[in-house]
């Protein structure tokens, strides 16, 4: 069973329905409109990509779009900051390579 980091306040006060999206091909659930990074964290996914130089795992650090540590490929667009990007139904998120920029 996947980890759940949702706080009790969210369960009781908000009766929102969760929607499905994918992370590296695997289906996960989250609330529409919350940042992708938050939805991933809530189900225990803290590693969003790996460092291009050292292959070490990386995830959210600042949460406000400054550090770029949480970047991922979102619906085919590379280097999207997942802490700033709202989740939609069916969004496809994958750990993007640091050195590959789509369409460049």
């Amino acid at each position: 069973m996947a980890a759940n980091f949702r706080l009790p306040v969210a369960e009781s006060s908000e009766k929102r329905e969760q929607i499905a999206f994918t992370f590296n091909g695997q289906q996960v659930m989250g609330y529409e409109g919350e940042p992708i990074a938050v939805a991933l964290w809530a189900c225990g996914i803290k590693t969003i990509r790996s460092c291009g130089a050292t292959a070490q795992p990386r995830g959210v650090y600042c949460g406000i779009g400054h550090c770029y540590e949480c970047r991922a490929q979102v619906d085919g667009v590379a280097n999207v900051r997942t802490c700033m990007t709202p989740l939609s139904r069916g969004t496809s998120v994958s750990s993007s390579s640091d050195w590959h920029i789509e369409g460049a």
């Binding site: 706080l7 995830g59 779009g65």
Partner: protein, 412 residues
Amino acid sequence: MNVDVAIIGSGPAGLAASIELAESGLSVVILDEYYRPGGRLLGQRYEDPKAPETEREWDGMKLALELVEQARKRQVEIRCGVTVWSVSPGWKIELGGADEKTVHAKAVLLATGAAERALPMPGWTLPGVVSVGAAQTFTNLHHVAIGKSVMVVGVDPLAISVALEMKHAGVNVVGVAMAPRSPMTEKLSSPSHALSQLAKAADLAPNPLLRLMGRLAGGRLGKMAVHALRWPLLQIEGIPVDIRKAVARIEGEESVEAVILQSVSANGVPTGREERVEVDAVCLSAGLYPLIELAQVAGCSLVQVPELGGVVPLYGSDLSTTADGLYVAGNITGIEGAKVAMAQGKLAAVSIAQAMGKSPTLPKEEAIQAVKRARALSPIRFLPDVEQGLAKMERLWREAWLSKEGDEAWRM
């Protein structure tokens, strides 16, 4: 797009300014990089059970929603998810992440806020290590726990507030400890410095949050700073605040598994003993700094005022800068709370309206006094010496005006 005033940042300063500007009959657009308006207000939530009933709760989210509604009702356009990467005199604002790439405005208000200083230490890139601001947003805005067991690193008003907020939300906060000594941390790693700063902030009433801390620490904060830290372990609402221990490093394979605590002297020098505490998340706090990049590209003068948080634009008592038509409000002027930011937003709007020949809803002098009142009533204080910083700013502003007499190069 053409508007009278472009505001960059939809936090408390930007929103408050937009409402006042619209009231004066000016067209306004607010630009913000985040996906929703409100700025740091969105994650602010705390209570002081002993405050008068009407001031007991600070609900930033509710306030943000109210401000946004008031702004929209007055035809303020709020564009989120767009990044301003250039502001040039004239004024021309260039955007990323937007269909429309430029905004032309007669005046610009920079209400960009602040960012957190980094706190590099061994293991800090592991998933599960976040800035204390991110922890606050996850907890209060998104209702997601940053971890099952959390250690907070850095002993300062923001770190302690967020530790309390996490605990109130049901997160197990195992403790708050010092940053380790390194060339990057300087004073941050000194327990006596951290305590003296905390004690100074706690003594500045009215300040419900820090008063609470002072009370819970048994009124010992001030004494401790003087008596060389004789009570090394504070308990604040059951959270151990261990000012004589530093987190030497963070360990884990794929994500955070533990922190290594090490005893330190009153000056932060490690004294050798280490202990391992299992946690799955770590929050790092190293203080905030004003976000000034856009002021820099816009070409206004910048000055170094450590009491205000670092490098800030040079500004006058009406929040104008050395660049014609460029104003500042909120944390870009110095690190303070949301109440001050809102009052500053209103003041900047009054100044802009007046400069553009409109009649503001209140006289400038009143708006200036309102900022001072907001400062006195702020529920939280991040920097203890803001008043000295403001006095320094006033002096620098006056000097700049004196030296510019007859100097047409003033506006670069």
